[in-house]
């Protein structure tokens, strides 16, 4: 661990902190002096071509993946590992110096320099090792660092990944309809006279025809024979109309199977810099949605051969904007509005809430570069000022808005949640703090962003209305460090003035974060060198007990100067109050996440008190109730009634002397129906039954029974006692009883 070195004697009297040029840093920053030597979430690769499954991946993890595949554990591949890690370092410093580009390109460009500094030759062992590793690189994409552009570049990238997937599904459906409708039209054309003309027939054979076929004769033959039944004109017109609408929709661009040049006009753009423009575009595009909905519904019915003009025409033609349902609006690709607090038009930024409340699938990014806000009451540069840190919480109040708050340092960790927000049917707000705060000069944006999360100034959370019916399923605070604590604590080692090593555990509070901002430095001063320890109290303790006497002792935080010298910095009421505010907001978020839920805490206390009171008065009765009452062994227990056994369906022959057929076993062989179509008939299942026992003679009955190969006809007794040869027939019938 890095060490802070308070080698300078602490000043005697309270001295104002020098402003601007020697900024203060929280003591815990000491270990992050040089980011380029750390393997953290940046540079980040905006992964291409892997759908929404993998949208982001840090360079360090990609390199770890590659090493896992291409190097064997043990000493043999140690050189390769070191070389690849050196390459990672080289790419990282290029990005920090402002380079941009695809991972594969930066990899390639970094190799010559590395070889040179290692004194290695091209195609030498190191070059070969790096080449071997590159072959195991299975993803690529733009590499970005953590800076003021990161939030909107990343969000646009994720939006596009989700949009492309949506477009694929859309095109598959629409192109499928286009194909099937074109098939119907083609089948109809093939019945036409035109399709049977000699030239058309020649065309259908292709260019291999070498004169062996006389197409005029063929045309004459086929012309005589060609099938009847062309499509009605109205249906043709309807199908052509559907094709024209589906072919010219502008919500998604054409795909490979839609063919190029299908669109007369460029597809709509869905990324906006202003909520007003985005809302306006939605309104303007509604008539196109109506047309598309009509065409899609018609297409679906048409390809199923279920379009019934009489029934469906009136409904389809009457459909207008007011009939559009959420299901229809889902056809619209979600819009992405990129706002940057303090840079975008203020009035428009405030309108973000109007857009979110509209329920339309509008995804709004509000990027904030400053979450502390102005310290003076002067009119603010930004729309929300310090309230930026509450935007996402406010959006949760709209209930059906997907809301996500995260600092740039943690974007990778909530990548999947951002994807979900983009896929979510309704509006979404992404409130992202970039860390690129101008009033914290010299601090890397990544460090600012990470500190904002650590200090609870800008906690990470996600509210997903589609997650389930209750808070526990919708709300997650899990991405924050030490989520059940007020502040995360870190161990810290330093050297005392006398050279002794010392350990401390420091909470990282809002106050620690606040002192990085030059605007706050007038609200703190160095603690006097000889300040009595009992006159100072750690800021975290003061924030936890705000009602104490604020004059004594004074709250302080540990800070370092650019030389890593440690000092205690006393903070003013102004910072303490802001920190109390922050702690309070954090507590509310914790409650939403089920941590220290005040309702539960109160209810528990009440129940405990009640139990204790009862316990004292009436111990046995409580005990009695605690021991589960067991019913006496002979008490009646509800039990399933034994099912009455299903009666064995007895042959109906026993019931009467009427003729009958085991219909279930009839094979539809036509023997009996041929003998007498009145007596024997088929039921709805095309199986024979006795339709009319008096429809024919007993002789026919007996003959049918004899012809029935499955022997399921039972002739019964003769109906007409005067029929000739009865005695003999009765004898023949006996075998079928």
């Amino acid at each position: 661990m890095n060490q802070a070195n308070p080698s300078q004697p602490l000043p005697n009297s309270p001295a104002p902190v020098p402003q601007g040029d020697t900024p203060l840093r929280p003591a815990l920053f000491a270990r992050f002096g040089d980011l380029s030597s750390l393997r953290y979430d940046y540079p980040l690769v905006l992964v291409q071509g892997q759908g929404s499954e993998t949208v982001l991946r840090p360079l360090s993890r990609i390199i770890d993946d590659v090493l896992r595949i291409c190097s064997a554990p043990g000493a043999a591949d140690e050189a390769l590992r070191q070389q690849v890690l050196a390459l990672e370092g080289s790419i990282r410093s290029r990005i920090e110096q402002g380079a941009t580009g695809k991972l594969s390109d930066l990899w390639r460009e970094s190799v010559p320099g590395l070889l040179k500094s290692a004194g290695e030759k091209q195609f030498g062992p190191m070059d070969r090792n790096l080449d071997r590793a590159r072959e195991d690189l299975d993803l690529d994409g733009l590499l970005i660092g953590c800076n003021g552009d990161t939030p909107h570049i990343t969000l646009s990238h994720i939006w596009k990944a989700v949009h492309d997937e949506r477009a694929k599904v859309f095109r598959k459906t629409v192109d499928g309809f286009i194909l099937q409708i074109a098939d119907i039209l083609k089948a109809d054309y093939n019945k036409s006279d035109d399709a049977h003309k000699a030239d058309a027939l020649r065309g259908s054979v292709g260019s291999t025809d070498s004169g062996i076929i006389d197409f005029h004769k063929l045309s004459a033959v086929l012309g005589r024979e060609h099938p009847e039944g062309r499509l009605p004109k109205a249906r043709l017109r309807r199908l052509e109309w559907v094709l024209s609408i589906l072919g010219s929709q502008r919500f998604f661009g054409p795909g490979r199977s839609s063919g190029r040049g299908l669109l007369d006009q460029a597809p709509h753009s869905h990324i906006f810099q202003s909520c007003e423009v985005a809302l306006e575009a939605f309104r303007e595009r509604l008539p196109e949605v109506v047309l598309l909905v009509k065409a899609l519904s018609t297409a679906e019915l048409e390809v199923a051969h279920k379009y019934n003009a009489e029934l469906h025409d009136p409904i389809i033609s009457a459909l207008d904007e007011s009939d559009l349902t959420a299901e229809h609006l889902r056809l619209l690709p979600p819009a992405l509005v990129l706002l940057r607090d303090g840079k975008s038009d203020n009035a428009d930024t405030v309108r973000a809430f109007e857009a979110l409340a509209s329920g339309l699938p509008i995804k709004v990014l509000v990027q904030t570069d400053d979450i502390l806000g102005e310290t003076t009451p002067a009119p603010s540069q930004s729309s929300f000022g310090a309230a930026s840190a509450r935007l996402a919480a406010m959006a949760m109040g709209l209930n059906n808005v997907f809301s996500c708050q995260v600092s740039a340092a943690h974007i990778y960790r909530v990548g999947h949640e951002i994807v979900r927000g983009m896929q979510f049917d309704g509006p979404a707000l992404f409130s992202i703090y970039s860390g690129a705060t101008e009033t914290a000069p010299g601090v890397a944006p990544y460090l600012m962003a990470a500190a904002a999360t650590e200090s609870r100034a800008f906690p990470t959370f996600v509210y997903d209305p589609s997650g389930g019916p209750d808070w526990s399923q919708r709300f997650s605070l899990n991405c924050n460090p030490s989520v059940t604590q007020d502040w995360p604590a870190h161990s810290f080692q330093y050297e005392e003035a006398n050279g002794n090593k010392a350990d401390a555990t420091l909470p990282f509070t809002f106050a620690d974060f606040a002192i990085t901002d030059v605007r706050n430095q007038r609200y703190c001063h160095m603690a006097g060198k000889n300040a009595a320890p009992e006159r100072l109290i750690p800021a975290s303790e003061r924030i936890a007990h705000p009602d104490g006497d604020s004059a004594e002792p004074e709250p302080f935080v540990f800070a370092i100067d650019p030389e890593n010298r440690l000092s205690k910095v006393v903070i003013d009421t102004k910072i303490v109050e802001a920190a109390e505010n922050c702690a309070d907001a954090w507590g509310r978020l914790q409650e939403l996440a089920g941590i220290n839920n005040s309702h539960v805490v109160h209810e528990l206390a009440r129940a405990r008190a009640a139990w204790q009171a009862e316990h004292r008065e009436d111990a046995p009765s409580t005990l009695e109730r605690l021991s589960a009452p067991t019913p006496p062994a002979d008490s009646p227990v509800a039990e399933a009634q034994p099912q009455p056994a299903a009666p064995d369906p007895a042959p109906q022959a026993d019931v009467s002397d009427a003729p009958w057929i085991e219909t279930l076993r009839c094979t539809t062989c036509n023997e009996c129906t041929q003998i007498n179509g009145v007596t024997f008939a088929y039921n709805d299942d095309m199986q024979a039954y006795i339709a009319d026992p008096d429809g024919g003679s007993f002789r026919q009955m007996v003959e049918a029974a004899e012809s029935c190969q499955v022997s399921i006809i039972h002739p019964g007794k003769p109906r007409n006692p005067k029929e000739p040869d009865l005695a003999q027939l009765i004898e023949r019938a006996a075998v079928f009883d």
Binding site: D175, G259, L301, H312, T667, T668, Q709
Partner: protein, 330 residues
Amino acid sequence: MTQNMSQCLLRMVEEEHVLADYQSDITPRWCVGCGDNAVLTAMQRLCRDENLAPEKTVCVSGIGCSSRLPHYMNAYGFHGVHGRALPVAEGVKIRRPDLNVFVTTGDGDCCSIGAAHWIHAVRYNMNLTMLLHDNQIYGLTKKQASPTTPIGTQSNTTPGGVYLEALNPLTVTLGIANVSFVAQAADWIPDLLYQILRKAFHHKGFSFIRVLQRCPEFMNHRFDEFVRDPSKMRILTHGNGLRLKPEVSRIYKNQETHDPSDMARARAIASLDDEIPVGVLYHDPEVPCYDDLRAGERPNTPALIKTVLNEEFDRVAIAAGDGPAQKVAE
């Protein structure tokens, strides 16, 4: 996409079908007593009970008495070329996966001239339902021996009796790679024939049903001993297979509980000599279907075909101009 709306609109024109909706204007021309009638009835009942739209149903056949079935169904039909029902059905299915495709064929049609297609159809495992009407004779051409005719049978082509042991369509099918559904039915137990057909229809993949079919014209009395003595019919039951109605169970008491995923037992049952097994011998719903594997990510529109072909041609063509090929040439 506009599902709710389309479903409402579809519901307005929803039709309940009756069996007669699947009967064509042509009355079956099969001999009185022919087992083919029972198969036709079973198929029409299935269409009615599954409410299959006649215009979304196709029956494909080869040549033979059995192959006349498509004429009697009020649906699309293709009375094809001898032995070639399967390739035609496969073509229909791959281009129009939305259609319900049935294949009817005879023992001559399938096991003689069409044997190659039969083997490959099983291996392709496309989502089709096939019925092999096995009357063990060429019926349409008036009594010539087929590969399933029992040894010793006298016929117009074997006046001295068939010399060779008959081929067993069940064991053959069970031996083919990717086999996914094999069943046997007898036309004289129509309730089981119907149930088996229904199972086959619901199986996603190639379902093969051999139907033992009586031909009173040319193989009279061939199955009499089995028709008359239900104990010679071994009915295969299982929770995942057939469940017998009490009326059927009372007559067919020779029952075996057979797990259709048990291939070894299926093969043993298929080889029974003295008894005729009826039921689902083998069922594996997990075998991949060729039509799914080849379905492609995108609809096969003419535009896509053109784009892909052009891309392929560009890769190999020598371009006049400044294409990559030109650069190589320079």
